[in-house]
Point group: C4
Chain length 376, copies 4
């Protein structure tokens, strides 16, 4: 499957073209288990806790029903749109996914090449296994940088400066995992990142000494949460860059409003793919609550549970400007390398176009809640 077969684990069967059996995103997920070793697969597939949010993220899309339209003239149709003054060919972005060499030796470089080929925007993770500069070089014209606050403002500033220098055109700061827990599956298998998948960008970072806790103190509150960013840190970050700044991981409308007050340019409604708190509502359920409070036209993105082009259509109908796909890119990367990722993106984009055409929408801005069926 694809020419990059030579980069796959030698024990896996080599494939020299895309199998005719791969016709949708789920096919890549199904096949991926033959290309990713078990403990890594657990780590990638799993969600936190009982994995209810993980399941709800997908189920929420299934629950939305549509109306088709007849005879609409969509001959001038396009998926192109503008965001922050830049033009994008379609609204399906690659979510920031860390440590992509876990599933393929070319890792983020392969994904970046697929992004360029499919004119997709790649959001590079702070925790990428290749350096942000190398990825930027491979990704072509549409690329954003996902930022985690570092342990000191100097380190944060340095990382930001590198991202700007490398040509990333927007900064996405992820704020939904001040405390993180592995999925139970990954905990049980004792998963930890292998050396080849460690964050390339942070190799020379001097880690601050850990906080010493008394027995009365909590590793969560006096530990992780003491180190976690606060609103003042976001204010500082806003002052450090002229690039569009987005916050990823907002679920509550009140937080959305406070971010906007602070000058944030866009939000990614996200529950970290079910990897943050289990039990939080599905991204698609949260989206209209956030859309309802933000100013008209304010940029909202969403990730979590998007597995088809009609899911993209539904997200836009319910208020998203664009969407990000996470796990599916890893499955396609594992199975088919760069061309696998490109093929996946082509499937999703084609499905989005078909959904738009059958719902009578020539442009993304014509996709609205009037396409959503509501039971009498």
């Amino acid at each position: 499957m694809y020419g990059e077969g030579s980069m796959l684990n030698s024990e896996r069967p080599k494939l020299d073209r895309i199998s005719a059996e791969v016709v949708c995103s789920a096919d890549y997920e199904r096949l991926a288990k033959d290309y990713i070793e078990d403990s890594a697969l657990h780590y990638i597939q799993g969600g936190s806790g009982d994995e209810r949010t993980l399941a709800e993220n997908c189920a929420a899309f299934e629950a939305v029903q549509l109306y088709t339209r007849v005879l609409a003239d969509c001959s001038g149709g396009t998926t192109a749109f503008e965001l922050f003054g830049e033009s994008y060919r379609h609204p399906i972005f690659f979510a920031p996914v860390a440590a992509q060499t876990l599933v393929h030796p070319n890792g983020e470089l392969a994904t970046a090449r697929a992004a360029e080929l499919m004119e997709a925007c790649m959001v590079t993770s702070s925790l990428s296994a290749y350096s942000l500069e190398d990825i930027a070089a491979a990704a072509g014209g549409r690329k954003w940088f996902q930022f985690y606050f570092q342990t000191s403002r100097e380190q944060s500033q340095a990382l930001l400066a590198r991202a700007e220098a490398a040509g990333y055109s927007a900064i996405v700061v992820t704020l939904d995992t001040p405390v993180q827990t592995l999925s139970r599956g990954a905990q049980r298998t004792g998963f930890s990142l292998p050396a080849h998948a460690l964050p390339a960008n942070l190799k020379n970072v001097v880690r601050e000494p850990a906080i010493n806790l008394t027995t009365d103190q909590s590793v969560v509150f006096q530990g992780a949460m003491a180190e976690a960013p606060k609103w003042s840190d976001l204010e500082w970050l806003r002052s450090q860059t002229q690039l569009p700044l987005l916050v990823k991981g907002v679920t509550h409308p009140d937080d959305a409003l406070r971010c906007i007050d602070m000058g944030v340019d866009g939000l990614v409604v996200s529950n970290h793919g079910g990897r943050s708190l289990d039990g939080v509502a599905a991204s698609l359920q949260l989206l209209p609550h956030v859309r309802a409070v933000v100013p008209e036209g304010y940029p909202l993105l969403i990730d979590g549970g998007i597995r088809s082009g009609s899911d993209v259509f539904k997200a836009i109908a319910l208020g998203a400007n664009a969407v990000m796909i996470g796990r599916p890119q890893l499955y396609a990367l594992a199975v088919g390398g760069s061309l696998g990722v490109a093929h996946l993106m082509k499937i999703l984009r084609d499905e989005l176009e078909v959904s738009m055409a059958l719902c009578g929408c020539s442009t993304l801005s014509e996709i609205s809640a009037s396409a959503i069926f509501t039971k009498i």
Copy 2:
């Protein structure tokens, strides 16, 4: 099973009568897998995408609950009704199903004979494997013609003229598949129609050269949708025939109103049996939304998910004048040929009569929403 056994694939067991085990539509579906080869069966059974609409079409009927009535005098009961000035013995029509020789050598001719025997209206597909004239000759007095816009107005006109000449009494133009995708199952098995099942009506049609797309253009928008019919085409079609004209594939109330404004005589609320956009609401869910906006008495038909006579009853109670059955006719045709199809229609009609009798309705016009149970 039935006398036409000699026409069945010689490798399948011959049956000389209807097995006592066939007592409902689902029995034909169950048996059909022994009579239809796998790739064709996938093509017939499948729906688009994740097949949610396919499943919802049936589930929507299950969700509707009824009231029975006692002591009603139904001794003068009948399923007969009038539509467009013609009299029909019952409201269960054969939906236009293409390429019926896929499952039985006699194809549409066998179905047409069953329609005549059971006094059912047959809606002949443009894409029939036998010519529309031969089917018309076999179908007897009740027959409509399903029309697809051809690549030129001349070709459309010619097809329409043939249908009128052959005695079809109404034209049903299908508009819900300007872009079409095979089911994933059919894509994976690489299904394509065998030569014996190609459209007989279009044998000598000269296909227009395909549009040449630049790399910037989309096969969906600048390809298929550029060729797809527009509202002006429907206006033209309306001007070309005096026959009652119905539009098949309407789901949105606004489209219903616009069709009526254009002089369309009736609508078939349909999602193409779950073969158009996956995620569109079930036909039965859509029906009351459309009924709510059209003028009183305006003819509405429905297809999708009808598997029993009580489903027919429910569709009428929620606003349909008549219903169409699609896949079930193919299953019965595969298993029992012409008599299989007739037997299926007899089962459905008997079940409809029983439903009417137990709900105290002597005529179709007595079937109303008052028969629908709503939870307190």
Copy 3:
């Protein structure tokens, strides 16, 4: 299991006491399949159509949630109540079930003895395998007679006269099956009643010649429904007896009102255990709709889906004066004969008492909708 083992099919294992494994109604159902031959079991267990109503009858009880109460003084508690001037020890009646020798040679006689032992009211079916007089003799003081209209008024009158003479204290006329269909399972196995289970009461009845139908006529409408009782027949029946008259099979509130207008003394809200029209709402769902329209205190009974004493409690809380159990009595009869039926009734009655005690109700009249939990 019980002393009547000698009457069981000799091929089945004899049991000389109630197994400790039988602790609820479902246990009898589970065991019954070893005591009833397959075709009869299909006939008994099955419902019409897709058996949705059959399933809903039970599911509706599961969906109702209760509040318990603390510290209530129920030391004077009792399940006794009055109906039509008669006193009953508890509100769990044996529904009229035909042909009980299908599962046990002693059939209705065994059930009648259990009814007497457990002070339960037995409603004898017109279609009993033993004569209504023999059953009356065995049943003791609490017995009603279930009446089907016969093919002539003379025959109806004669049957009624026999029931009155035998000491039955109320007449329950069943009106929900003017057209009947076997369950699909029973149709497929070609089930018909064996000679030993034919209606004993109707042995010497001269059957009227069947209606001759033309090919244009329907066996449902011009056949069965022509022979079916009409409102005028109910009026006539009302004039023929001084006994309390109940109508069984009412589901629609309008029919309830019309029965009351005609002088009917009580109603059994019933869908014939899911054996009439499939798709009709569950009995428990229908009950509050009927209760909402009838005069205060008007006697309502219910059958369908009752499998435990807490189900009895829920039915009463939602408006029933008493309940009837159908299939469970057959399962217990098959497994344990008369004592099996008595044991089942004891289980149900004990469960009802526990439900009352834990919900703080000393009498049936204290059971009200305030015991029903409704989600905020």
Copy 4:
């Protein structure tokens, strides 16, 4: 698994540390079946009737969805809170569970040691297999006593006096099981408590002679309910102790109000873990109904269905001051003895802290209904 391996049944595999596979409460339940003999396991796991309430208790937590918050300063966070003037480190209490030697020879003593280690409040059962004095000695500073009314006021007074003397700081009187039934599983296996698990506190109690019932009388109403406590008994109990008095087993808001009128200091909303009346609503569903009627700040606890720290969070968000865990402590006790129980409590407390941190709550009092997601 843990050092107390030597106390485990010698036939079970000894473990000398906590297996890395135990990462959540469900893991202890899964493993427990290898450490508890079948009949005891049935007794512990089972609920009454069809076990619907048992299942609903857990399902109700799954149905609640949350909002996370970003950037909240939780560095001063704590799970500590005050109740009845006492300080507690966290709101996860050990519910009163009887007969703990069923699963581990050290029984309640092991649980008490875990409670002390984890600074958890232990609620000792009247029916403990070790004496309330021995347990008090092991439990450290936070301990309440669960009280059942004894057959005479003298005996009740004596039991109460012992609890006060042993240093228990609150009395929880359980009122939801005036009639009790074993689960069907336990009935079928004929489970009864072995000698080593009988109530140590009641060894020398002279049991009153049972009531003699006439055949007309009911073992439920004239038997158990005649012996069951009434409102006057609660009034008496209130007058007998200065300690905070809580009532456990309230589900109906009206009972809550009446308890408060009588001077009760707090309530435990509980359906006895699905072991009282089957069909009663889930504890979490009942909680907001009770919270809605009690005075602001009135202490409410809840048990039933709590299996994770996010469940604890949800209970507090919906109105609980603290929660109690029942079955999970037995599973952990069976698998790992005292350290197993401590480990379980640590998991739950850590999960609660993570939930608080991710939902932006520094203290229990900041957890409110605003954290609950409600669908538009």
